[in-house]
Each structure stands twice: as C-alpha cells, then as structure tokens.
C-alpha cells in the first residue's frame, strides 16, 4: 500500500473539496484507511463467474459477528457457577427482556456457523481452492475450524445441563489416553479431580476469549485471500481485465441476497423450532451421579465422534499383542481426520483445480460427502451392530480417500481440457452437473 500524496490546495481542482472530503483526505494521508477500503472492498478484482457456493465465506463472517454480539449480551446475565449456571440460563429465558430471543439466536447460531462453514469447506474441496497458491489460505481455514470446535464445545458446557456435564466429561477424558502424562493433563484441564466448578469457570473464560482469536485468524484468512483473490468454478487463473469484475457492487449485492435467503432459514429455526437441533437431555440440570442413557455431542461434531468410537484396538494379527489401545487409537484417528486436511494440497497434486474438469475426482467428491454424512448418522447412534460396522467402513474410507484415492487420481486421472479464459469458456455449458 502506498500512501497518497498530501493533498495541497494547489493540487485540488477549481472546485474546493467539501468538509467531509477534506477530513477524509486528512485522515487518509496519515493512515490510508479509506484507500485501503476502496482497494479491498470496492475495486478488489473478483472472478466474474463465482456461483452461489461462494456466498458461504461472507455468511460465515456474518454469523461470527452475530455470535459475538449475542454472546456478549448473554454473558451479562449468565453466571458461571455450578449452582447457578442452569438457573441463570432460565432467568435469561424468562426474565431478561428478549433474553429468549438472544439465547435462541446464539444457540442455533452455533449450528448455523458450522453448517455454513462445512458448505464453505466442501466448496473448497470441490473446486480445488486449497491448491497453489492458496495453501496458506486453506491452512488458516482449518485453524479457524479447530478454534470453532473448541469454542462450540466449551459453549455447550455453559448451560450446565446433563449433556453439558457429560459431554465435558467424555471429551476431557479423551486426553487421559495419552500415555504416561494423560491423567495429569486431564486433572490440569479440569482444575480438580472431576468436571466441576473450576472447569465451568475456565470454560466460560475461554469461550469468551476464543471467538476473538477466531476474528484474528479470519483477518489473516482474508489477507491471504486478497493476495491472490478468489478461486472460481473453472479453477483457472484470471488472465485479462475481462475475467474480473469489481467486488462492489457485484458481489456485495450477491452476498446480501444470499444473506437474505440464509436469514430466512436461520430465523425460521430460531422462531419456530428453536430446540429442534438440540438435545432435550440438556434441559435437565447437570447431575454428576446420573449418567444419561447415551452421551452424544451436537450434530456438527457427530462425524468426529463416530471416528473416535469406530477404531478398535490396533494389534499385531494372531498374537494378541495390542500396540495401541482402542481409546488412544480413536483419539489419534479423530484428530488425524482434521489434521490430514493440512497436507491435502500435497496429497492432491493434480494441476487442475476444479472438479468440473476432473471426472474421476468429481465422483470421489460426492462419495466422500456421503461418507461424511453417514459418519454423522453413525455418531448419533450407539457404537454396536450396523452403526458400528458402517462407522468402521466409513472411517477407513475417510482416510483412504485422502491417503490413497486422491493421490492416485491426481496421478492417473485424464482431465478434461480447460477453457481458454474465464470470460470465454471454450466448453460452454460443460461441467454444469457438478452444481
């Protein structure tokens, strides 16, 4: 960014600039914030062919703002103490003006955030948005996902219902699988010898902190994005002026329209089915002496939960020697299922980004999507019988997709010819089926 020259009276044209214009120039010379905004929001060249799947990034940003705004207001009336947390939430629902609205917006906002971000990620997977030169952009996105999962998990503990307490117990206990130091780590996380008041208080503190960390990483995510600009459905680089349009007004209005559609969906849930996505069990106050029939996380964490519970003991065949116990193996697999995304740009080394021109990868993408949804279904069921079997097959496939199929396809797939440019696709109307 270069600072503009100090506007002098001589430099101005015959018409004297107005007061506001003068103030703008004064500020901009000292800190070019208006130049920056003009550059990054107005002129910012964007591929002209982005489809509606490209709406979900800005939607995620807006949901993050909604979550922070409602969260700050909720924190004003919430009490992070095991004796008062559940009651204070009911106070918010009954006695705080529009407290029920703020809480339902926040509670369902978590689900909306994950829904929007998952669509955003799968769009990236379909159109190859993780490929050079956008690997860092992709990494920062995965960091945001990890932070979101931590934030959502700790937020779910705050109402101190049965599922809050037992979810916290199960998830923190995972760390006890770490050899030698596991138990010490778990006590350290709890701040005691069980999930109790110290746990609730630190979770509240961190639940308030992490969203602002997410904001920071989002800024980096946008910085990386604006360095090379958006990928596009054709997955080819912009070559001429004709391939780009300014972000404003074209994508501001398209994003606003998308926001309208999204808000209709979001608000329909908030006002007419606010508890449909939640567990009824969490309206029962936490009781450390009574374990619920089954402990399940919220829907957006179910696939990982399924992977966690699908992995058996890793043993040397026919010897009965267990190398890694199921619990530790499950924890490793669960974390690996996300960390594997970091190396995806190198596992998928095909130079063609968009699945529109990759007939085999396109099939793999849809199978992978179905496998992820199936894992979600498995996570909601007890790990026995059919769900356990489906879970094990899908977990194996999940990793095979990244470690075996994607690299093989990248090597051997015969891709379709790419269009000359974004503005003149040589194959008009081709590749539509993927949308």
């Amino acid at each position: 960014m270069t600072a503009p020259s100090e506007p002098t009276p001589a430099a101005s044209t015959d018409a004297k600039p107005g007061m506001i214009e003068q103030a703008k120039n004064w500020i901009d010379y000292r800190m070019p914030i208006f130049t920056f905004m003009e550059h990054e929001l107005h002129e910012y060249p964007t591929p002209r062919n982005l489809n509606y799947w490209w709406n979900f990034g800005s939607l995620a940003g807006i949901v993050l703002v909604i979550m922070i705004a409602t969260g700050i207001v909720l924190a004003m009336s919430y009490t992070p103490h095991v004796d008062h947390a559940f009651n204070s939430v009911e106070r918010i629902m009954r006695d705080v003006n529009y407290g029920w609205l703020i809480r339902y917006v926040h509670m369902n906002g978590a689900s909306m955030f994950f829904l929007v971000v998952y669509i955003h990620i799968f769009r990236g997977l379909y159109f190859g948005s993780y490929k050079p030169p956008r690997e860092l952009l992709w990494w920062l996105g995965i960091v945001i996902l990890l932070l979101m999962m931590m934030t959502a998990f700790m937020g779910y503990v705050l109402p101190w219902g049965q599922m809050s307490f037992w979810g916290a117990t199960v998830i923190t206990n995972l760390f006890s699988a770490i050899p030698w130091v596991g138990d010490a780590i778990v006590s350290w996380l709890w701040g005691g010898f069980a999930v109790d008041n110290p746990t609730l208080q630190r979770f509240f503190s961190l639940h308030y902190l992490l969203p602002f960390v997410i904001v920071g990483v989002v800024v980096l995510h946008l910085w990386a994005l604006h360095t090379h600009g958006s990928n596009n459905p054709l997955g080819i680089d912009r070559k001429s002026e004709k391939d780009s349009i300014p972000f404003h007004p074209y994508y501001t209005i398209k994003d606003l329209y998308g926001l309208g559609v999204f808000l209709i969906f979001y608000m329909a849930i908030v006002f007419f089915a606010p508890n449909a996505l939640g567990e009824p069990e969490n309206y029962i106050p936490a009781n450390p002496l009574q374990t619920p029939a089954e402990i399940v996380p919220e829907w957006y964490l179910l696939p990982y939960y399924a992977i966690l519970r699908s992995v058996p003991d890793i043993a040397i065949p026919f010897t009965g020697i267990v190398l890694i116990e199921a619990k530790l193996a499950g924890v490793i697999a669960m974390f690996a299922s996300i960390f594997i995304l970091f190396v995806l740009p190198w596992l998928d080394f095909s130079p063609v980004r968009s699945a529109r021109f990759r007939p085999i990868y396109k099939q793999l993408f849809w199978i992978f999507l179905v496998v992820c949804v199936l894992l979600g279904w498995v996570g909601a069921n007890k790990p026995e019988g059919v769900p356990l079997l489906v879970g094990q097959v899908c977990t194996a496939y999940y990793f095979a997709h990244f470690l075996i199929l994607v690299p093989l396809v990248a090597k051997y797939e015969k891709t379709r010819p790419l269009p000359e440019s974004i503005s003149q696709p040589v194959l008009k109307g081709d590749g539509e089926s993927g949308e």
Partner: protein
Amino acid sequence: MRMTKALIAALILVLGVGIAIGTSVRAADAPKPEAQDWSFTGLFGTFDRAALQRGFQVYKEVCSGCHGLKHVAYRNLSALGYTEDQIKAIAATVEVQDGPNDNGEMFMRKGRPSDRFKEPFPNENAARAANNGAYPPDLSVIAKARPHGIDYLYALLTKYKEEPPQGVQMSEGMFYNEAFGGGQIAMVPPLQPESVQYQDGTKATVPQMAKDVTTFLAWAAEPELEERKSLGRSVLLFLLVLTALLYALKRKIWSELH
C-alpha cells in the same frame, strides 16, 4: 437456474444432517409417543386460556404435592388470564420462609406474586425420603427436557396399565406404564377420573386432565411461545420482502454485465 440447483443441493445437505439427527433414537428411551393435536404448535399456534387454567388447577391439586415448578413465578400466571387479585390470592395460599428480619431471625410469611412457585420439599433427600427413594423432577422445563416432550407427557399420564404384560417382573413399589422407558415407573398413577372438580364444568376425564396439564406445562417451559411465534411471523415476512427486493436489485446490477 444455477441458483435453484444450488439451493436444491443445499437443501439435500440440510436434509442429510436432519436425517442424521432424526434417526438418533436412543435404544433405552421410551417408545415414540403418539402425536396429539395441540393448539399451540405450528406457525399460528396459541395457548387455549381455558385449558391453561384447567391445567394449572390439575398441577396445583394433583402434581404440586411432589413436583416443583421453581422457575415459574406466581406473577407469571397473568399469562393464563388471571387478574392481579386472583394471583395475589393464589400466591397467598402458601407460606414461605423469609428473612432475616431486623432481629436476625427468619420468619414465615404469605406468598407474594413476585415469589417463585414454592417447592414441595426442602431438598432432594427429603423428596426421596417421602417418595420411596424416587426423586420427582421439577416440572418447569419438563416439556422441553424429553424427546417429543408434550406428546410424551400426555402419553405418560394416560398409559398406566393395572397389570403388566405377562412375563414382566415388577419391582417393589413400581407401576407399569407403556410410555415410560423400561415400562416401570415410581410415580403413582396421578390421574383418576374426577381427580379435580373443574370450575368451568368440563368433565374431568383422565385424557382431558392429561391434555390440560400438558398444555399448562408446555406454557411453563416456554412462556414466550406466543410472543416468539408472533414476532417470528413478522420477521419472516420482513425477510421475505427484503430478500425479494435484494434479488431484484441483484438482477438489475448484474444485467449490466451480461
């Protein structure tokens, strides 16, 4: 066209997630209760005030002996259509402990509208001691705390059976109830025909009382329901119009490009 396809695909994804959640029926849980007709479900649902008052009467005369309603205040009863004086009278029927006074002593006084419903037992141990070891849960949010909450409550209150099916060994002091997970419940069948004398002349059959008290408990769990739905209709209407305008504007702005 592209947009429609995109929306359809998004819907499929949402449905997939929905099915994943919807099928998560816990094996140990109660059987899925039969769906009843309720006045307060759906887009335009409202509570039937007469049913609410009858339901409150059932709660007061039958349930409140064992079950608390600690998140609801007497003043909230104005939503049921009671006048201020009636609410004062209702609150005054209980004695609550207050204090300390200027001499540092706790004292008993009559309930006030600002008080929350008096709990039937001083603590959980007392509740268990009086109920054969079982703990009657607080009913403030019970309608939200069970899968298919309202239908479940209705089923629970109407599906007691005098005799368990053949081969079912009942534990000491337990009652057989088809709607309850596992079939054996510690709660004494609470409703008998004419358990209460309705003031409005409605015949107090067991299904009638079950329906009324469930309506009352649905209100207790979601006192904001009517306001929520009414505001929700305005919000959705506004968003529909706004989104239609944004779409028109988007078409206009983009038409310069094509």
